[in-house]
Symmetry: C2
Subunit: 243 residues, 2 copies
Amino acid sequence: MDRAQSPLARKLANFVALSDVELEVLDGLHQRRRNFIAGRDLVHQGQTHPAAYILADGWVCSYKLLRDGSRQVVDFQIPGDFLGLRSVLFRTADHNIEPVTAVEASEVLESDLLQAFSTTPRLATALLWAASRDEAMVVEHLVGIGRRDALERTAHFLIELSVRLTLVGLGTRDGYSCPLTQYHLADALGLSAVHVNRVLRKLREDDLLTFQMGQVTIHDFDALVELAEFDRSYLDQDGPLLR
Amino acid sequence: MDRAQSPLARKLANFVALSDVELEVLDGLHQRRRNFIAGRDLVHQGQTHPAAYILADGWVCSYKLLRDGSRQVVDFQIPGDFLGLRSVLFRTADHNIEPVTAVEASEVLESDLLQAFSTTPRLATALLWAASRDEAMVVEHLVGIGRRDALERTAHFLIELSVRLTLVGLGTRDGYSCPLTQYHLADALGLSAVHVNRVLRKLREDDLLTFQMGQVTIHDFDALVELAEFDRSYLDQDGPLLR
DNA sequence: CGATCAGTTGAGAATGGTCAAATTCGGTGG
DNA sequence: CCACCGAATTTGACCATTCTCAACTGATCG
């Protein structure tokens, strides 16, 4: 098995050693290529029978909207991520999905997915793993919002992004390009945009990290890890569980 | 299929219509019955090759511990819940599991689980659904901590518990018995115990709900739903997805 | 009957929010 | 190249939700 694979296949292979047939079925999910422009939601809360997407290029964010107009970003997805799985399984979207940038993604319909699960059930196990990893990220996020102050929380978030992007070849230990605005950060971190700005200034003044003009520059990775009490183990997997 | 089923089987049947063979395999996971006393952790952060558990009786909570000694409770589990799935899939526990009460649970080893996935792969799909429902709860929790104030957040949490307990026959619209202390609430809601106490007083004074002596009494369910902007759809499923 | 733990209350401090007003940046049209 | 526009960012002043500390009550248990 040495031919070119999709980023998703590479990710899943970490968990379940996939056979040729399974890889082909996974490839088959990449029909229906779609392009989206920034800002117009792919999926909105309450939508029934939404599709899932495999993200090929660009960033999207998943968020929930509250009655008072505020929103909480649950997660950002980057290339290689599978998104909307939960919405498909429940046949109703419980969150919105907004492209942060222009986005290229493969649409996966409920029928495609269930078909794939029937013919190659181990794919379900593999996706169960991917879903668990996503859940681990949400849990880390929850801990941050619940128990870390604004500075630690922001640092943790930006370091997590750095590690995730590095895993798919889109970043290094020194930084990454980042299309998020300070409003995105605020909505993700449970802070106001004004306070995010103050926190970013503090991080800059302390020579830890610069967030400017679509670029995150990390000046002191280790100090940030220390500050944020960041433990990357929830993002890694050291070998396939199912052979 | 009309014989007695475990609560877990009943829950999973909501999502995937399980065959006799699949139900038997699921039953088989209920060997190794264990009892635990309140307060001594079943699983602790960093533990490798932890087991998963199917909760038969009692409450447990999943939490993460921070360096400064504070903790964030991610979720409480009640009878019928499957817990520690993520830890098994990653072969390392990323959180602690503490029995809130005396607990009766079936221990599920990694090998049992993978064996079950191999012989009856649709069980993996069913557990994928259960995991997605759990993730939906964590997401709702995240939204609460990120964007709701202490009063709304507390109300949301206690109403969610009411609905979950009612689904497994342990509560009604009027209330439920609840073994949690105000410290548990504080750790779950990202508040201090002192503030939780003030919030509970406010809820009591407003004739919405009483939290006292292990008993939650709901005085005005609808007003609480309104206050907390509670939408139960993430807890329900209206019929099996896989036949 | 002391000890311990859950709950309760008050006072003062702090983290982060709100409002309002610059300032800068990235286009876009002339 | 320049003027201009809207969006994103930056800063200050003031405010409020929630925290911390500390004291006190009440129940339970050996």
